[in-house]
Structures are given as structure tokens and as C-alpha cells.
Amino acid sequence: MKRSPFVRDLLIAVAAIGLLALLPAAFPAKAVSDFVIRLSALAIFATSLNLLVGYGGMVSFGHGLFYGLGAYSFALLMQKAGTSVPVAFALAVLINAGVATVIGAICIRLKEIYFSFLTLAFQMLLHSCIIAWTSVTGGDQGLTGGLPRPPFLGIHLGEPRQLYLFCCVVLVVSLLLMRHFVQSPFGYTLRMIRDNPRRAGFLGIRVWRIQLLAFVVAGVFGGIGGLLMSLFVSSAYPDFAYWTVSGEAVFMILLGGMGVFLGPLAGAAILLLLNDMVTRFTEHYSLVLGIVILVFALGLRKGLLGTAADLWVRWRAPAARQPAKG
């Protein structure tokens, strides 16, 4: 009998955590663990956006809203309210879920490009609020003074190695959960709506409810991404809510491939690597990135993992039947 897919995913997750835990032993450089921490934040964020874009066909241009919201709500709770890490984490998740429910309910009524623009408008509205509400947010300087990181349950996040492990665990658990949601009946219903919303309605599915649920789930995980980043930089900046955050996440998704669950993770890793490598050799990072983007957009439409997956399918069975995406 075949092992159940969930057990298989679980084993992969445990193995991934093990490997990540061993990584600093093999590469002790701080740059390596910092890379993984930044990757964990961005990969969770990009994967959460892909729940909407790749699985739901809902092209949000404003997903950075939740990245910024997660970062600021977590950082403010830690800094101003002095809550413990788990409480601030849970409250930040709840705040994101609440805001996603309200904004999602408004945005989902609109279709296509209008949905995209409205999500972008909400994100920029948050950005403007952060800039304007200086007494709380510190305005365009961001939060100053650093985040206190009181120990909890024997975990001390002020300790770099423990912070590293914490981020790795959050990354893997988040990916595992999102993977599970995508493979759940809800995930399949979401894909049905992406393929053919009208038909889904004639199968008795209340399309907006599923879309709203997807929006909330994506908003929560997007927030977790931002929260990790604020933990890493020990602050929160208005840039976290700027539209470029959404733009880069979109690029990560397309770079890795939106048809593959781990595509956004791969895209995030490549973009970060590219960023770190190119800035070391030239100050013209934008130029190089722009050319890379054009190559991908005009050449490798399905992204790296998507293209690789296609080759794999072709190699395994030349006249293969194509399975459902994702």
C-alpha cells in the first residue's frame, strides 16, 4: 500500500528542518544563515500570494498589504504592548485574518484588473497610513529602538542561532500547512473556480465564499512572512507595505513557476541569490535584474520549476497524459 501523501509531505518537512538545522554546521558564515532567514520570510510570502494567483486565478497586486500589516502589528505588539512572542504572533495572525476578511469581502466583488487595482489601492492606503501616523509607526523612518525579544518556553530569539532555527521551523510548518490546504478539497474547489467560475457556481459552489477563504488564508500567511522579516531586522519599515513588495513577490512566483507548489520558494531563493551576487559585482543591479526578468517573461513562461517539471513529465512518459496542475 502506498504511503499517504500527507505522511510523505510530513516526512519531507521533518527532513527539511533537519537539513536546515545542520546547514550552519557546514556553512558557519553569518551570511548563509541570514540568507535562509530572509528567504523564509519571502518564501512564505510569495507562496501565500501564489495561493491566490496560481491556485485561485485571483491576481492581487496588493498582497504586500499583509506583509506590511503582519510586520507592523507584530513589531508594535512586541515593542509598545510588551507582549510575549507567541502572543504577539497569534494576535498578528488574528489581525491579518480580520483585515483580510474585510478587505477581501470588498475586493472579491470586482473581477480581473479591477480586483488587482483595488487590492493595490488598499495596500498603498496602508502604506500612506504608516507614513502619516508617525506617533505610532515612526513614519518613513520605520520603528526605531529595536524589538525586545523576551525568551519564551526556553527559546531565546535574541540568540542568532535560535532565531535561525525558529525561522526555519516557521518556514517549513507554513509551507506544510499551505501544501495541505492546496491539496485539500478546498484547494481543488479553488482550482475549479480558477478554471471556470461560472461552472463552479452551477455545481452549487458559492464562489465568493471560497475566494474569500483563500484571501484570508493567503493574508494570514503573507502576514507571517512579514512578521519573520520584522523579527530579523528587529524593526518594521514602510517599505514592507510598498507596492514593490508585491511586485517582487509576483516575480518570484513567475520565476519559480506558479504551477508548482514550491515554485515561489525557488523563485524567492533565486531572486535573493541574484540580488546578493549581482550587488557584489556591480552597482547596476536593476539593469541586470531587468534583463533577467525580460528573459524569463519572454522565454521561460512557466518558470524554472515549471519548465523542469514539464521536462520531467516528458522524460518519464513521452506520450504522457497531463495531470491536474499543482
Binding site: P185, T189, M192
Partner: protein
Amino acid sequence: MLTVENLRKSFGGVSAMNGVSLAFAEGSLTAVIGPNGAGKTTFFNLITGAFRPDSGRVLLGGDDIAGLSAPEIVKRGIGRAFQIASIFPSFTVRDAIRAAVNAHQGRHARLLQRFPIAEAESRADEVMELVGLGSRAGVASGNLSHGDQKLLDIALALALEPRVLLLDEPTAGMGPEERWQMIETVHQLWERKKMTLIFIEHDMDIVFKYAQTIRVLSYGTVLAEGTPDEVRRHPKVIEAYLGAHFETGVHAGTQRP
């Protein structure tokens, strides 16, 4: 079973449904015919909640369902398939039907279980077997032949165990031989599932061979209704729609009116 009373709908001042009243008996097999633009598909759209009627009632087992949303009407037992097969291209045949069964069983929003759900399996297999798609279970829907896509569209509706099934031109776009196969499949479905089946059809040979009763629509009104024999002899039908050679019983079938 299904009764519509004085159904009206206009689009931007143009009247598409002009006071239609019809009744469909439980377990009957009815063909809806009429020239292009007669309002046949609009009639289906009004019953299934795609459009909201301007006035009139749609009674399903005594409840007025006019004005309800499409998902609500589906939940009450009306399924439909479309003139142009409406499917989920990225899904395999089996997964699409499983997902439709989930929707019917109210399990489609579950986050914590894995797809497929065991409870949906037997139902999904039964539906695939009913329409004869079992051998193509693993094929992506978008890669199916035209005929198989039409079958899958019907299978998706069947997954909902409808009391009333509306098929909009099940044989549209098919060659003569394929048409007879399709209508034979539909007829077997009807016999086995004992549901009320209403289909729109242009091929008169098929209509007169298979339908128990016929409803003729023209310009958004009911031109005639009755058994095939009654409709065949109905003076208005002969005059306005079917043409003189029907009187003599000649098949007018294969070309579209």
C-alpha cells in the same frame, strides 16, 4: 414537479421571454425545440438562476425558486449541462467528478482533509461509469475530444444527483453517428436514474424518436406542447416552424431548422 408560470425576461428593452408557462411531469423526458433565438437557452438560464426573471414563478415541487442564485437552485436539485461543454480544463476527468461530488456533499470547503475524500469515491466512480468515461479517468479534461467533453459536462451535473437535469443541446457540434451515441447514453441515464430530464435539441429525428413530450418555443412564447404526435400535427407548428413536409411524416431531421 417543475412548473413555470408566466415567465418574463427582457434585456435592455428587448423581450426574450414573453410570458412562458409550462409544466414538466416528474420523471418525464422532454425535448424543448424552436428556431434559433426562440429563447430556449434563456429559458434554461432563467430556471437555473443564471438570470433573474423579471416576473413569473418557477416552482420546483411547490417551492418558488425564481430569483434564487445559481448555487441555491443547484442545491434544490436542478443540474444542467451547457451547449458548449463547460468543464475544468486542468482537472483530470476523475478529479473533476470527485470535486463535483464534494460540492454536492457539502465537503468542498474542507481545509484539513486531503483530496480525494473516501466518501466521494464510490459516487464518482459510479458517475464515470454511467456516462462511459471510465476508460479516460486519468485524462486532463482539456485534452478530451469534443464528445467526451460534452459527456464530462453531463457527468459533472450528474454528480449532484439532480432531480431535474437540463441539457442544452447535448448533441451540438457532433457528427451524425456521434449524435446517436450521445442521445442513446442520455436516454439510458434517464431510464436508470428516473429523473426529470429536459433537453434542447435541433435534430428532429432525435427529438421525435426519444422525447416523451415536446415543448415548442418561438420568440419567447410557447408555440405548442404535447406528445410527439400532437406536436407533429399541430397546425401552428406546421405552419410556423416545421414546414409542410412534416405533415407527411418525412424526416426533416439532420439539417438545423
